[in-house]
């Protein structure tokens, strides 16, 4: 007659424990099939969105998402592999001994920072507001191929502080470089966003975003 050895018994105990943990995890987790109930609309506020069948549509969606502060539309402009880089601001951060400020700025960081920014501006509409503008003529023609594209846009970001006496306007100016890609089931999205100021040491979009990180 064979009896289970100590090794086999221990292995069975470990497996059973892992099964139990797995089942507990499943029981306590989120239902992937159901969303919450949504109330009927009280107002007819419209966010602007266009299916990004061309790279320029993505930039247009990003512009509207920023000015209308619709985080869900902004979120959808970014690819899963998104990365943001502000090289001159990174050097300034290293200058200040804050090396990690612009490091590892990936999609979840970008969405979290922008959500934070939109929340602050939406909750204080009587004191702060912002307007984002892109120059109508880009500094260089767009470079578009079948599945990848590079678009450059000169931008101005006006931030108004209406509670200051007198009211203050902060202006961020620079050039944003957008690298986009397209996949089979998706449309165009931004995989890389580079930012440099218009003048060396000037206040740019990266500086503005870092305030909300």
């Amino acid at each position: 007659m064979c009896f289970p050895t100590k090794t086999v018994k221990r292995s069975c105990v470990v497996r059973a424990s892992v099964w139990a943990i797995s089942l507990l995890c499943l029981l306590g987790c989120k239902d992937p099939f159901r969303t919450r109930e949504s109330p009927p609309p009280a107002t007819e506020t419209e966010g602007t969105w266009k299916t990004p069948s061309e790279p320029d549509d993505v930039i247009e969606n990003l512009l509207y998402a920023y000015n209308e502060m619709v985080i869900s539309n902004f979120d959808r402009c970014l690819c899963d592999s998104f990365r943001f880089s502000a090289p001159e601001d990174s050097v300034k951060a290293v200058q200040d001994n804050r090396d990690e400020l612009f490091a590892d700025w990936e999609r979840n960081v970008e969405v979290s920072v922008t959500a934070n920014m939109f929340t602050v501006f939406r909750q204080n509409t009587d004191s702060v507001s912002l307007v984002l503008l892109f120059e109508p003529v880009p500094p260089l023609p767009d470079d578009i191929s079948d599945t990848s594209a590079v678009l450059l846009r000169d931008y101005e970001l006006h931030v108004f502080d209406m509670k200051a006496v007198p009211a203050e306007t902060t202006l961020a100016k620079g050039t944003a470089t957008f690298h986009l890609q397209q996949t089979s089931l998706s449309w165009w999205c931004i995989c890389f966003w580079g930012d440099i100021p218009e003048v060396a040491g000037g206040y740019d979009w990266g500086d503005f975003k870092a305030q909300f990180k």
Binding site: S11, V14, R15, V18, W19, I21, S22, C25, L26, C29, K30, D31, P32, F33, R34, T35, R36, S38, P39, P40, P41, T43, E44, T45, W49, K50, T51, V70, S72, P87, E88, S90, V91, Q95, D96, N97, R98, S112, A115, N116, F118, T119, V120, R122, Q123, V137, P139, L140, P141, D143, V150, L152, T175, S184, L185, S186, W187, I196, A200, G201
Partner: protein, 609 residues
């Protein structure tokens, strides 16, 4: 660049004195020009493999980017690093050494340089390893564009690592380490402590050759840091991360993999005046994934998974507090149905919810995502095969606030791509592929709207490719593609009806050649031509005042064309040893902007000696 020249020259000279030793060193240089951006990368790695007790190594890297700006000065950015280490083994368990490293970051008028040099020692006692280093750290900060004076700091730095790998259980690996860093710089002191524990154990050997056996792995990291910025702000950070991974066989021949990750970071910043708390953020995330897989009859692989994630950002009850929670269930089936048929199917459904606990519901939303993708391959004969790919993606966004629920929408994409590959001759391959893609976007509370918010975009493409292998050294490629696309508003009339507002047609031709004059050398010239035309559809009223009718007019909106000629030279000895040259000349023009001529160059060299 100058700062790195002297060590590089010294290292090249040193190579001549160590020529009698076996050594490995590598160089990689890249240059690329893209639009008005010029990028240089340089990597050098030298580590002589000597049988002596003395060993040393040198690593150097440099990255430079110049961006030319119209109407303004060129913008230059550089960052680089150099590391030099020297070790001398006194006995089998004791060694001493020295180190030197320098980091440089510069952008236009701003430059930050950090240098470290000192001595180190390493010894082992009763299975515990002690590594210590003591040295000098120097920091220089210059900003010519600012009125702030140049900053220069110098101070002592001390690092200590204590690590051990005790053997606790058979077939297991345990690693523990405690480390501490101190940098005594007057304006920017730094303290850091870390604890790390890792345990992994093989629970059994796998009965199937080539596959992994049962295993258990746990990781625990805890860290604390305190540093001061040049602005005077003091930052304190706590970090914790835990990982658990278990993999093994469970009843019914199923393999299970469970992975759990927990991450917690706390960041507090105190202002220099009166030590007030100026910033607080506690971020935590938990993710768990359970995967089950089983192989049937050694032909069909079935996998299923459930993924859960939850993240929180706590700004101490501020309006910016956020919570995100998501669950996803999915699976895939892959296998050979018969000798000539194989199929693949994957599907997943998930809900991600966003909450704003303090600021109220106004931005709370749920996102439901459904994803289905399938592939099928049928081989008629060694000369003919057909492949079918298709998928569906549904994205439903709902807001929890009546302020935003007007934006609730569905976004659905359908894709179908059949392709035929024919090998009529051993030297000839023909491919024909079609692709149909459609995107429906409609709003839950705006179905009756005719403002154009509900929309449909359709795209149909045809790709024809030819590959002719003239000889072992020469292959010709030719391709033609045609694409039709239209979009317009969707109108609800008992069912969705599209009204086209724009359509576009794109024709593209490409010709290329791959020539191998030598075994490792390939030269590839290529020519491509693309023409794009788009038309706008407008409704025009015709007829008299009593009987007006709408007539659709189709007007040419934009015409675009592009010609590009390129040549690529590739000399490939191995993944680590290669030379790559590429140059392209492009001309493009359209009715809405001026003609543009661009040139692109890329040079890349890598060599391991």
């Amino acid at each position: 660049m100058k700062r790195f020249c002297y060590p590089l020259i010294a290292s090249f000279l040193a190579l001549t004195f160590f020529s009698q030793c076996s050594y490995a060193y590598g160089i990689q240089c890249d240059f690329s020009q893209d639009h008005r951006t010029y990028t240089w990368n340089f990597l050098f790695d030298y580590a002589p493999d000597t049988s002596l007790d003395l060993s040393w190594g040198l690593e150097s890297s440099m990255n430079s980017i110049i961006t030319k700006r119209s109407g303004g000065p060129d913008w230059l950015q550089e960052d680089g690093r150099i590391d030099l280490k020297l070790d001398y083994r006194l006995t089998g368990k004791i060694s001493v050494g020295s180190f030197f490293s320098q980091d440089i970051y510069s952008s236009e008028e701003t430059r930050a340089t950090t240098s470290d040099y000192g001595i180190s020692s390493e010894f082992e006692l009763a299975g515990i390893r002690f590594i210590q280093s003591l040295g000098v750290k120097m920091i220089d900060r210059q900003d010519s564009s600012s009125t702030e004076p140049e900053i220069s700091q110098q101070g002592f730095g001390y690092d200590q690592i204590i690590s051990a790998s005790p053997r606790i259980l058979s077939n297991s690996v345990t690693q523990m380490s405690v480390s501490q860093s101190l940098v005594e710089l007057k304006k920017i002191p730094l303290q850091r402590r870390e604890l790390s524990l890792a345990f992994s154990k093989a629970l059994s050997d796998s009965p199937i050759p080539g596959s992994h056996g049962d295993s258990l792995r746990m990781l625990y990291n805890e860290g604390w840091a305190k540093k001061r910025f040049f602005s005077g702000t003091t930052q304190k950070k706590n970090h914790r991360d835990i990982n658990l991974n278990a993999s093994g066989g469970v009843p019914l021949g199923i393999r299970m993999n469970l992975n759990v990750d927990y991450l917690r970071d706390r960041d507090r910043r105190y202002l220099p005046e009166r030590d007030l708390l100026g910033f607080y953020l506690l971020s935590s995330s938990l993710s768990a994934e359970l995967q089950l897989e089983k192989n049937f009859w050694r032909r069909v692989q079935v996998e299923g998974f459930y993924r859960y994630m939850r993240s929180e950002w706590d700004y101490l009850g501020e309006e910016s507090d956020q919570v995100m929670e998501g669950g996803e269930l999915g699976g895939r089936v892959e296998g050979k149905i018969s000798q000539v048929d194989s199929a693949y199917l994957s599907a997943s459904v998930g809900v991600t919810s966003y909450y704003a606990p303090v600021s109220g519901q106004f931005n709370d939303r749920d996102k439901l995502t459904v994803l289905v993708w399938g592939e099928y391959l049928h081989v008629f004969s060694p000369h003919l095969e057909i492949r079918l790919e298709g998928g569906f993606k549904n994205f439903h966004l709902t807001y929890m606030s009546e302020q935003f629920s007007f934006e609730n929408n569905h976004d659905q994409t359908y894709v179908l791509t059949p392709a035929i590959t024919w090998f009529p001759h051993r030297k000839l391959t023909l491919r024909q592929k079609y692709s149909i893609k459609a995107n429906y976007r409609y709003y839950d509370y705006q179905k009756a709207s005719e403002t154009g918010r509900n929309s449909l975009l359709r795209r149909a493409s045809s790709f024809s490719d030819l590959e002719f292998r003239y000889s072992e050294r020469m292959t010709f490629f030719a391709g033609y593609s045609y694409r039709y696309e239209d979009d317009g508003p969707l109108i609800w009339k008992d069912q969705w009806v599209q009204r086209i507002s724009r359509d576009q047609r794109i024709n593209s031709v490409s010709l290329s050649l791959a020539y191998r004059p030598m075994r490792n050398l390939t030269v590839s010239p290529k020519y491509t031509y693309e023409e794009r035309k788009s038309w706008d559809h407008e409704a025009e009223e015709t007829g008299d005042a009593q009987e007006k009718t709408l007539r659709e007019r189709r007007l040419l909106g934009n015409r675009f064309f592009r010609k590009m000629i390129s040549i690529t030279l590739r000399y490939l000895v191995s993944q680590e040893n290669y030379l790559y040259l590429s140059a392209a000349h492009r001309l493009q023009d359209d009715t809405q902007s001026r003609q543009e001529i661009s040139d692109y160059i890329t040079v890349s060299i890598a060599r391991i000696f």
